[in-house]
Symmetry: D3
Subunit: 273 residues, 6 copies
């Protein structure tokens, strides 16, 4: 790719762990990156503009969508949080993004869904993108909601969505589960790039993992994206195994795709403590 | 069934079109029916208690769930409505119901989902309960959300849910589409009764139609409910056809399960007019 | 159904075994039946007009399609025949019919396909309408061709087709195979009526059998037609079994849906004898 | 059916609960019933001959298979038993039957498999005959073995088998599970009759239940047998429910097809007590 | 492969774009290549013989099939053409080839089917070889016909066929669609070689594409061919994208596998202009 | 992997062709290998202990299971053998192993199942691990039995099993079938290692082949094992093809996965000669 394909891409959650990587990784794709987050965004580059705003702020979100060619929607609560926060940032916030896209004529949204939208399925079930939702918490529930929102906006309003069910995107695998769930930052960039540039996506769901040895899901239904991971958790295996005990295959957190999320209690109970 | 199976059943949306029928139809199943709606409930019977409350009122909903054996959740926005109303009544309200059920130890919820959760699928696709969500509006989107909510509360908290994707439940078929989508009031009662009394449901999705001649979906995945419709739209066919024109098979509202919902614009645009 | 739904229906093969039945059976559906066959049509009724013509006569077929609302295409070689005859009557002839429909704006075609389009599948495979073609002779091959032709004319030109894979439609079951393959004349009429009047068919394939006890295929993918057979081969069982030997379950003609067609040699070899 | 279809049918387990019913029910199908069991068979009829023998007695079994047209193999351990008994009666014994069939040229075997061959599947999974084996004990394990044995003898030696996965065949439903698992004696006879007389079965697996309201499995893959149950557990529902408590939907014995078999410990442990 | 596997291979369409490549690529597989086309074949090599003939010439085709070990059937109308031409060259012509193969005892045919046999399926549907035919024109319709013809000749006459649904085989990718549909000439040779030499094919359908990044179909059902593409359209991406505009994902020609063929009108209309 | 993951692994059949390879290959995984076979085990290493015993010796097997972390069960009749031998070594013997595992609290068993458990499926059917059993002899039948035994011990007793359906594991491909069925010894070691170390297997079935060009089955349902073959039969192709004739694609031994096993008669007949 020599010339940028897009004039302006909007990135939500741009100050987050993945948002920060995407700023670097997506820069070649667009002349301009419009960034937004609820907190300040560091190290702004010449090709970037930054806008601090809450996703729950409908007017702000609509304004941010004006004039963009594509939206990379990685904002919202980044983990299991109390209901009110999930509701406002992820559910209402994502609605504001899609409404912004609709009103501004944006053609494609790439959304950071999550393994936690299907966290109660088991590894040996080898699910694919047509398997039913099985969220493992309020966080995952909000991811299901936004996937359905994307489906609606494609069927009714012709806005394409790629929902990326990201497994575990961290600098390196931090525990034994990440030996199969890890998505390297570079592969995350490859995945978002593929989702932005594939010729036709309609509404497509793709799992997001690196080329790890153990593969717990079947991603063939997203082969039209052209995503080809190039990293693997294998180089980290010895280290991870040396510092963590062998897992119990019967523990819910080992049998389920969602890992320890399935062991979490209700976040409102936690918040009430 | 000679003796009531339940002590108390909570019915939400009890003043609505279907809620009113369920009061009559479910009476033999429980010693007591606890009714709630946002508006007054007429003709209260000795076996009933009525509670006017908004679903969005969390404390009220929690109180209503105390001491009930099962919840028949038919409340929420009854059709396509602006986002804020859908969000508050259907999304937030249903969350309050499930939280109420969880805190009060209620074991089963029967939920009025809708054909509009899968409205963009076509008749000739003959989908079943495992086919992906394809909502046809904000109303359907909220139905998808509550189905996923029920799935979560089963997987994580052990509360069973039957999500009934009701097609068109009216006194009689009002148009040509209802010749295949109609659910008679008596069959609706049979369906809710089956969902309440089946020995094991886990999380089950069932389509809700009478035994009409044209069958546009495959309901075999709900055969463990023991629902057997006994009514049919056929006796109404001649009348309906006499007063309505032949449909155009290529019109979206004819090809899609959701009918004319797929032709609706965005409800917020409508509301803004 | 009190009033005719159609003004004019064109029936091809109208002098044939089934065409003769359809004249009687479809009469209530249309004000006028336009009949065509390569041979004379007996006992013309006031609501009928007859036109002797070869399907291979393109100009004649186009003229016959003018001004009709639906086509019931039952013409063409009625059994295994030499290639040139199959090619001219069934392949070229059916092309003429679809071209006639396209030029005249006819909206729906009901086509007499056959079990012989899938004759090499076995009973215990319980195939459905999505299973691949497996023709058992040139006759079946031409049926596959016309099914694909109908699929093309739906996808490209918006003409709906119901392809009826008729098993064995005779006055009564004549052999042991027909105890499961029989389609009574009355059920054949019900099936064509359903195919003509279903609200939406797109391109639909339906198997055509009566409500026989042994059911060798799964017809659920055509449930939107609203076809409900009311006859059965069972009353004929004792008679058939008394006069025919028990079949060998390992004989190809017993194991395959196509029956004795799978034992036939090549018709051109037969013709050359 | 006026004349018997078979000269001689061999029934194993003929003194058992179901064997006794089959003697009566299958009498019209054959001129002669050859009966065998390990215990004495009461009330021998003129059309019957009785042979006391162990299934583990290879020579006896081979002799019994000589000159029979079909075998109805209902013998073997009738419930969870210690390994040695299961091994000898069900595994070795069934091998003797199939070897007897092979050497004597018997063309079809109808085998009493069991729900316990797939007992760990859940009701809401709505499995069909292609779903993998999931035995719930040694009894079920032996049923899986004999199904595979039948598959082998069909593929390799051309002997047809219908494996009937009988759920609960008793005089009447004895507990709440039997409200969905019950197979009446008359329906059991209908099922075996269908399996014996269907024109082509190859190797077919059929679930065996009456026409109960709650249907926990999908039997469509056996539709070529022509089995149509005519009884139902519904008339017994009120009585059963009155004398048994409501089940806990989360109990393994309620969620699994195998019922209380899944709660059993290892039979060898029990035997050692 | 050191020694030729075949004595003589017949190649139809040998003067065409792909036929020319196959002459070179298949030379190591056979001692002799018998070539045929309707036009003159240039640069004849010592291992080749050339025969100018129309596929519609039955006698010529039969003579050409005498004494060959395998047929690589790439002849027939190479694109959308008027009906009479498609009928004569592709439908009648292919029938002549299969009849020739049958009479001469040829054991395997490798047929150049096309993406246009399934052109109306969409990229995101990720179809496989069992998905139904959806031709996108008369050209694709004739490909469907020949696939069914091959299926018949396998089931009935034991002649194996591999139908290769070639996507876009050109010297290099010429437009954006070819970035996913391209089949390099070398990969085309690999594919035909695999189809000729696989130990067992029965009737197998394989998609024909290079190892491009975006993969719009699932070819796993042809894994027994042993085809492993080694080329990719990626090196051509920058050039293609620089000289062609971004596609509209909602345009039929972008959403459908068949590309711009789905936008074509009826070829007879075109011819009539 | 730097440190051994296991203290002690039990290997049955340790003197056999594959057992010998596994002793070498699994050495890095465990501090100690406990070996057993019915015959003497050569070249014992310091990390090994050897125990000569019959699998049919229940007490011996139970003792051997004491104190081991995992069992690699490769013992039992290694090919088609008379019934009594299959029964005693493979069926009874494997039962003893699983009972030993249960009593000793062993957590995982890796079992050498075989292609012969599914030998009657055809290459072009591209079966996966959920396809039904189709054993091709008594040997394969015993493999089916032990798979079901493993399934039971997982569902009921929580012992994980990986059943490896090994195709042809020999020093090098010996015939044309092995060009697709070959599993190199090194890949066999990789496969067993993956099965022992995968984080979660429950009950998993995996096919066992090297990365050969022709792939006759679909192994995607075992992707959570992390098995990645690194060898291929291709380097042996020229040699094998030079010394063996071309196969007949219609021969049962060519069309079926089980190869020449499907041509074998009954082993008891052979033994009786």
């Amino acid at each position: 790719m020599t010339a940028p394909r897009f004039d302006t891409i909007l990135i939500t959650g741009a100050a987050g762990r993945l948002g920060t990587q995407l700023r670097r990784g997506l820069a070649p794709l667009a002349r301009h990156l419009r960034l937004t987050d609820r907190v300040a965004i560091a190290d702004l580059q010449p090709n970037e503009s930054a806008h601090i705003a809450e996703l729950a702020d409908e007017a702000a979100m609509r304004a941010l969508c004006e004039g963009v060619d594509a939206i990379v929607h990685f904002g919202g609560a980044p983990m299991e949080r109390p209901w009110e926060e999930v509701l406002n940032s992820s559910i209402r916030g994502s609605y504001h993004i899609y409404e912004g896209a609709r009103k501004a004529g944006v053609k494609r949204v790439v959304y950071a869904s999550s393994v936690h939208a299907i966290g109660y399925h088991r590894l040996e079930d080898q699910i694919d993108a047509h398997s039913p939702h099985r969220p493992d918490g309020l966080y995952g529930l909000s991811k299901c909601f936004v996937e359905d929102l994307g489906r609606l906006y494609w069927d009714k309003f012709g806005i394409e969505t790629v929902a990326l069910r990201i497994f575990s995107s961290f600098p390196e695998p931090a525990d034994r589960r990440m030996l199969w769930s890890w998505l390297s930052f570079e592969d995350c960039i490859r995945l978002v790039t593929a989702a932005l540039t594939a010729p036709r996506v309609g509404f497509t769901v793709s799992f997001g993992m690196s080329d790890n040895s153990v593969k717990p899901v079947d991603n063939r239904l997203a082969n039209h994206l052209g995503y080809h991971p190039q990293d693997s958790a294998e180089p980290f295996r010895a280290g991870v195994e040396a510092r963590t005990p062998m897992p119990d295959p019967k523990a819910p957190a080992v049998q389920c795709l969602g890992g320890w999320f399935v062991d979490l209690g209700h976040p409102d109970d936690e918040a009430a403590k």
